[in-house]
């Protein structure tokens, strides 16, 4: 079975500073990896996904993530955050394109002025 671990429940960062949100996964088979964002009082929106190919994946709003198979990680990064990035970020994994998605516990990104 697949699982996802998000090591940080909250990450405070100053505006315009870089940020990295950590995600590790476990699976005995090849996986697809995702990052979703949940803005306050809203649903889940896909930021980016890794299915195959280049290990560096670029998403919306200036975010990117790098798939590292040897470290079973898929950390999310942004070089300069904005106050509008305040949200909950969920790392997720699925076994194949048509399998259910399993979510991590989420990391709350708190932007400090």
């Amino acid at each position: 079975a697949q699982s996802v671990t998000q090591l940080d429940s909250q990450v405070p960062v100053f505006e315009e500073a870089p940020v990295e949100l950590r995600c590790n996964y476990s699976s005995s088979v090849s996986v697809y990896l995702f990052w979703y964002v949940q803005y306050p009082n809203q649903g889940l929106q896909l930021l980016l996904k890794y299915l195959s190919g280049s290990t560096l994946v670029k998403g919306i709003n200036g975010f990117e993530a790098e798939f590292n198979k040897s470290q079973t990680s898929f950390h999310l990064r942004k070089p300069s955050v904005h106050i509008s990035d305040t949200a909950e970020y969920f790392c997720a994994v699925s076994r194949s394109g048509d399998d259910k998605i399993i979510f991590g516990k989420g990391t709350r990104l708190h932007i400090l002025p």
Binding site: G43, G97, K100
Partner: protein, 112 residues
């Protein structure tokens, strides 16, 4: 841009009452899902539905839960006799074959 729509956005009910949460998936999608998120906790998989039947369900999805696609557009989640611990945000999602998952805005259920 097509989107998944959910109704109601918020429902308050008494313990023991039946609740139906409704979802209209994106029209050309074939896979449908329900997830829930208890306040402050992670998003949990409940059930997936394909070709008019449940394809997978989690341990949470016990006999009190059921799903239905009564017509060509709606996908409903029914909770037969609600418990306090059913209070959560319920998200519907849909996807095409091999496509990404699109989520609705969620239905907040409060059981008193």
């Amino acid at each position: 841009e097509p989107e998944v729509t959910q109704t109601p956005s918020h429902q308050v009910t008494q313990m023991g009452q039946e609740v139906i949460l409704r979802c209209v998936p994106i029209s050309n999608h074939l896979y449908f899902y329900w997830y829930r998120q208890i306040l402050g906790q992670k998003v949990e998989f409940l059930v997936s539905f394909y070709n008019n039947e449940i394809s997978e369900k989690s341990e949470i999805f016990d006999d009190q839960f059921s799903v239905e696609r009564p017509d060509g557009s709606n996908f409903t989640l029914k909770i037969r006799s609600t418990k306090l611990e059913d209070s959560a945000m319920y998200f519907c999602a849909s996807r095409k074959v091999g496509g990404e998952l699109f989520f609705g805005e969620g239905s907040r259920l409060t059981v008193l």
